[in-house]
Symmetry: C2
Subunit: 343 residues, 2 copies
């Protein structure tokens, strides 16, 4: 399997990308197209002991890079030879099956839509983020691709999220909730109240509305919401965990007995940190585009990059996009034909 | 100072309310009107050693109570003699200066608006919730009173939140942020993008847009958002902390060395729990109504009830409502007169 890695992007530049690519090639047996300034990419490969003729890696030159702070649309327009635009083009042309980027997530979305378009019938692609919960992981979508949504967008998110949770996360019958301010159908904002009847009639295991507390508790497997709320939720979970870690760290360093306590619980804290950490998740797929696209955290380390590559591979192997295409197509037929019920 | 406590409401009924009232009377020197089924309230007072003639407590009979799951508007209409409706009436008639309820927060809002109306010029009252952050506390509003908001509502929330943070939380010049998905003015949903210019021109120290991570980090003192997003955020912080505590608890009980570690860090965990706990906060004021109203968590214990009474007292002593009234009035004059600038 050939995958493209946008090697130049991200907060830390080439280094974690190249290292992650080598890890992934070793562990997953994938071939990687590494897109970035060719000379630097090659030199980074060599300095890490990769021989020049190693067939697992191909370096594709892209002189530009889109920075984390740049406006996505303007930057993609101005820099068609940026690493992310070239990466998306390689998937569109069939030279690779999927792309992974730890760069500016808005730019990755724009580049993906630009070159790969949407899957037929998909109205709005969504970022599916696996968030850590009390019971394990819950898939939240949209994690930030669409700040304004309509009820039928949430409906499609539920269908796409269900397919991803089944195939990639291995949940046989994922329970779907819509993020709201109370469990009753009558609560929530207009978007949620209008989405609920659509979700009840959808070909998913709809549980009902869930609150912020339920999301953290892991009451359901898939949570749908608009990308504004979803982005805030994802970052708030990350931020709250980080605030708690800072507090505990300061406490542990505040005296000899606390230090000893911290030492004894070192393993526990490491497991907690791992559980709450975005490095482990393997990035977030942009579901609904005409190709496999994984957006990973800008601060990804090599392990996080390798995990994101693993996720891309798994999406392709399990046929997520084909399943989304056929489910959305099916729903369209049902909606169009008055003889057929949606459920 | 006379305050009303909606003694019958909340997940745990009379017990924590009566106990909290006694604590508050002892510590704060306030007089309390206790509203609920009179015989039961009196018997609970007596069983806790309060003499029948104790001038600090007055029992007001209210035969009904509105349950946590009831529809607020329907329940307030159907039960004018419910403890929360009677409580609000006592404030409206001037028999008490403020009310505290740990009951159905929607019903408390409806009862407050019904009997106390809004302060002149206030378009939408908002729940101001103090959320725990890495640096201390950040005041978030709206915490759930208004699921749909307009930009000018966020503007008023910023003004009300600034006054509360100054007077009750003791922050000299509170920095105000608007909750969004990025720091740039161009990011966010329509509501946020339209609110930003209003906030920049407002008589508050506007910092700009803040993300979920910044809210958890405590970057600003006051965060404004619509009540849908705010309610989800508040419950997500609570839920994430609770998920982390569960994880740590399980880890600590998983072996003898971990148990010892947990024992040594007992103080640290207790401080963390206290910091993340809603019991400590003293409830959330409903700002913008024509009276002092404190909404506390349905699961409040006696200490949380006493803290909520303390908050009501502090709001009244520091003249929060008079200040809100005059600031909103001032903004109205500025907006109406083209000669005067808002800033």
């Amino acid at each position: 399997m050939k995958l493209v890695l946008d090697a130049a992007a991200g907060d830390f530049g080439l280094s974690p990308n190249i290292e992650g690519a080598i890890q992934a090639a070793n562990e997953l047996g994938v071939q990687l197209l590494l897109v970035g300034p060719a000379a630097e990419v090659s030199s980074q490969l060599n300095s890490r002991g990769v021989a020049s003729g190693d067939q697992r890696f191909e370096v594709i030159d892209a002189p530009d890079v889109i920075g984390m702070g740049e406006d996505p649309v303007a930057a993609c327009r101005a820099k068609p030879r940026s690493s992310v635009m070239v990466s998306a083009e390689l998937v569109a042309s069939g030279r690779a099956e999927g792309l992974i980027s730890v760069g500016n997530s808005g730019a990755t979305m724009v580049a993906a839509l630009w070159h790969l378009k949407r899957l037929p019938g998909v109205l709005r692609p969504a970022i599916a983020v696996a968030v850590p919960t009390e019971r394990g992981m819950t898939l939240l979508l949209d994690g930030g691709a669409n700040t304004e949504c309509k009820p039928w967008h949430l409906l499609q998110f539920a269908v796409m999220g269900t397919i991803y949770a089944q195939r990639v996360m291995g949940v046989a019958k994922p329970k779907v909730g819509v993020l709201s301010v109370g469990e009753e159908d009558s609560k929530g904002n207009d978007l949620v109240r209008e989405a609920i009847p659509l979700l009840r009639a959808a070909p998913v295991a709809f549980h009902g509305a869930v609150e912020g507390r339920d999301l953290a508790a892991g009451t359901v497997d898939v949570v749908v919401c608009d990308g504004f709320t979803g982005n805030i939720a994802v970052k708030l979970i990350e931020g709250t965990a980080s605030a708690i870690f800072s507090f505990l760290k300061a406490e542990i360093h505040s005296g000899p007995l606390n230090k000893l306590g911290g030492l004894l619980l070192r393993g526990a804290f490491a497991r907690l940190k791992k559980r709450m950490s975005y490095d482990e998740y393997g990035g977030a797929p942009l579901l609904g585009v005409g190709g496999t696209v994984i957006i990973a955290h800008g601060k990804s380390n090599a392990k996080a990059v390798a995990n994101a590559i693993r996720t891309a591979k798994r999406l392709i192997e399990t046929g997520v996009n084909e399943a989304i295409k056929s489910s959305i197509e099916q729903m369209k037929v049902n909606l169009e034909s008055p003889k057929v019920q949606i459920s």
